[in-house]
Amino acid sequence: MSAQKQERIGVYVCHCGSNIAGAVDVVDLANWAAEKLKHQGVIIARDYKFMCSSLGQELIEKDIRELGLTRVVVAACSPHLHEKTFRIAAQNAGLNPYLVELASIREQVSWVHTDKAVATEKSKAVVAGAVSRVIENIPLEEIKVPINPNTLVVGGGIAGIQSALEIANAGFHVYLVEREPSIGGHMAQFDKTFPTLDCSACILTPRMVEAGTHPNITLLTWSEVENVAGYVGNFTVTIRKKARFVKEDLCTGCGICEEKCPKKVIDEVFEAGLGYRKAVYTPFAQAVPRYPVMDKENCTYFIKGTCKACEKFCPTGAIDFEQKDELIHIDVGNIVLATGYDLFDARRVSNYGYGRLANVFTSLEFERLSNAAGPTNGDIVLRDGKTTPTSVGIIHCVGSRDKNFNNYCSVICCMQGLKFAHLVHERTGATVYNFYIDMRTAYKAYDEFYQRVLDEGTLFVRGKVAEVTNAARYEREKGKLIIQVEDTLAGKQRRIPVDMVILSSGLQPRHDAKEVGKLFGISCSTDGWFTEKHPKLDPVATMTEGIYIAGCAQGPKDIPSSVSQGAAASARVLDKILQREVALEPVKASVDQDACSGCRICNGLCPFNAISFLEDRMVTQINPALCQGCGTCVAACPAGAIHGTGFSDEQIIAQIDGLLLRTLAPVGE
């Protein structure tokens, strides 16, 4: 297997000051390599104080040029630190950069072992492994592919809107896909936004309108992505545009159909189950687009075959009961996923009584209740629809920071709870209690808001509420909801009777986040949020090139952070678009189709859909642009027909032999 043609190899041992030289006999190592690996082609072995310095690099470049080196091994630090440095040096001297190998004798030898003799011996093995391996290296070229300048943004909440606008304003086309009939997301449901208490609709609607009318944005609401194929720069996406049963080109959004529709249904989505809508409806007054949607499950015509009131009254004839779902195919270069969150289902915390006790509300219900455009026109009242509460308890951390439900902190609930306290106080004058475990008011002007709510007289109790019950023990509790809690600061159990309880429910990943992740080839954390490329340094990129994430899809966050991420994801997309083409690492798998037996064992292994089967020729092929180079298929192929560049069988086996010092020249040779 070893090279027929003798390579000319240079071995360079770095002292790294005393970092390596202090624990490894670098001179001995270099001499040993020159002597014992000579038969493999090592024609020069040097040691030097700092190989990564410009002088060190020049040393290598000079040898490549003057000695005609065909392979280079640098015994130094981890390849994650300086592999690129030495590859560029090689390239500068005219050697293909992929013919350089690093032997890590710092992180894996000198820093972790103390016995110099032992460390030196291990270093020799590591160098021998690298030399054997580098012989099997082959010259590689980076793969360049052009980037389609169009972008797909999935999710029309504030993060998605922001992202779409940034890209569109930069002059590139965006497809904004939204599952619901209107864009706006959760933010459209809110009343006020913390900490400044701007009206949510007032700041959001202009953005929605901008996105809806932007010449560079194609808005696809009531639509879902059904399939994604391709790779960075060249995705082909199939979108299902669900039948609205309303012809968008004819509809003027006058709202007569909605007015005439006789069927009233509970609005579980926009009104959080607290209000009603018609079977044909626009979810809210400022919806973008303003075309209504017909809810087939509830429409009397679809159920009974008669009615058609909407059709009769529509002045433009826009109602179309025959409309079918439409599949749209688009080509894009990059994708931003801003699919948001689901609210934690508070019914699961049965000791808080939501769903059993009428006057226990969720945060989203309260948002609708306090919203002037909501079912009560902004009156904060009990479930009977008329009584104003005189005392209200707000419970934090509902479903969050709890191993029985979600283990993480949902970030927004403390501030949300404080906002509710303020609104209740301002609008009803009721006595307000906030029950918290820890008050988390990080970020600008947040703690000041806490101070303000304290100043307003809200009563704070530090303790996770144990239960909300209507089983009165004493006269004063009769007819009330009793909040039972340990006031941990007072060190005693308290029973606090109130009229209304608001649960500051946590956020959780979309129920279908896993499937969506699979569709786009990205993964979810154990909690179910989309996994970012790096939690600190690359929070909007994913492990799949060309797919970015923004907003709550990545983890719980508030509006400012969602907007920032939307913008950040766009910056990354624009960066890609403006490069016009993308270079792909040449660590790829490929199929030798003459050797492929067509067994398809590899077909199900690729999480990136890079492997496809050519039915006509009964062989498998791998799309190099989709391949991420993990090598799983290479390992699986029973025919040995799949090759992995950069980490080939030959390279790895040679390295094993080298590490085991089986490649040394026989004694006496």
Binding site: G273, Y276, G355, P375, R383, D384, E467, A471, A472, R473
Partner: protein, 336 residues
């Protein structure tokens, strides 16, 4: 025929003999065979655990070991790995021992070492420990129970009292909820009972505090009885001998302590099942309770009128709509 191993527990032939009698009366109609574990011993209640850990779990595990030996005694019926405990405290002790011997293997090793001294052994996970009502609701099914009802208990207002040790800690996730499980409500409804919404259904009866800190226990009993009374229940139905004992036998003393005058009889749910299945009160141990259920049962008499409420015009919903109730078994259809 459905065969199960039975761990009766000490109360069943003394303070809770009415439970045993009524239990026996419903086995045949529901086609159940309970085979008592030979020479079972006391589970230690809540007392032994507070004194010595290993002996406490060894005491419990002896029963598991005996039951495991007995599970294949009748191969013709396919054997059974299910142990039924009608007492909540016994159920919890047996279930917990089985679970902890797995969760902390070192406990399992030590307990087995002790069992070895008696020539026994038990591999945790061998048996399924379940409570009687679990078997009735989930194995027999409400439909089958409903089909055996010949005397529907319409008009009998009952507070369903599950007690605490049954739905909690529930390491095996058997119940619809830790706090407001619906199994007992559903079963009683199948008998035609007018079930009262009883939020304290899983609150504690005081356990052994009636013996060691009566004032503490009296307050717990008061809460239960007062709330049942407040909500218009004429009797309480329970699934646990200790709950029955505390509320029944100490109600008088509790009344005395608080200067109250409650009269809240408490019967085992199996007694109500027996009644609904057409058995006579005296066959079911009704009458041995200290707070007499006579008046409560008189409210429905022998000739219970079929008071099927007419389906009047649907009430127009007022105010804001309520969210749907949640259960862990959402989608599972046994509960109807």
């Amino acid at each position: 025929m459905n065969r199960y191993l039975l761990y009766p527990g000490c109360s069943m032939d003394s303070s809770a003999k009415a439970y045993m009698e009524s239990l026996n009366s419903i086995l045949e109609p529901l086609d159940l065979t309970f085979e008592e574990i030979d020479d079972w011993n006391c589970c230690g209640a809540t007392e032994y655990l507070g004194i010595n850990l290993i002996p406490a779990y060894s005491l419990i595990a002896r029963n598991l070991a005996l039951a495991a030996n007995q599970k294949n005694r009748h191969p013709e019926t396919g054997g059974t790995r299910t142990v039924v405990a009608p007492c909540s405290a016994c159920y919890l002790n047996l279930a917990k021992a089985d679970y902890y011997m797995q969760e902390r293997p070192s406990l399992g090793v030590k307990v087995n070492e002790a069992l070895q001294a008696g020539g026994l052994q038990y591999k945790p996970g061998t048996l399924d420990v379940r409570h009687l009502i679990d078997i009735l609701v989930y194995d027999v099914g409400l439909e089958a129970i409903r089909s055996k009802v010949v005397r529907p208990l319409h008009g009998l207002r009952v507070a369903p009292y599950m007690g605490c040790m049954l739905p909690r800690p529930d390491y095996q996730h058997r119940w619809s909820d830790h706090e407001h499980p619906t199994e007992l409500d559903d079963l009683l409804r199948a008998l035609g009972v007018d079930v009262v919404d009883y939020p304290l259904t899983t609150s504690c009866c005081g356990g052994h505090m009636t013996q060691i800190g009566p004032e503490t226990a009296f307050e717990l009993i008061r809460r239960l009885v007062a709330d049942a009374d407040e909500r218009g229940a004429v009797l309480m139905a329970t699934v646990c001998p200790m709950c029955q004992m505390n509320i029944d036998a100490y109600q008088n003393e509790m009344n005395h302590y608080f200067g109250t005058d409650y009269h809240m009889p408490v019967l085992f749910f199996t007694q109500l099942m027996g009644l609904a299945f057409g058995r006579e009160p005296e066959e079911l141990g009704i009458g041995v309770e200290l707070v007499s259920a006579r008046n409560a049962l008189a409210t429905i008499g022998v000739e219970v009128p079929v008071t099927q409420e007419p389906a009047g015009p649907r009430k127009k919903s007022e105010g804001l709509p309520m969210p749907r109730r949640w259960t862990r078994h959402e989608g599972k259809e046994t509960v109807k």
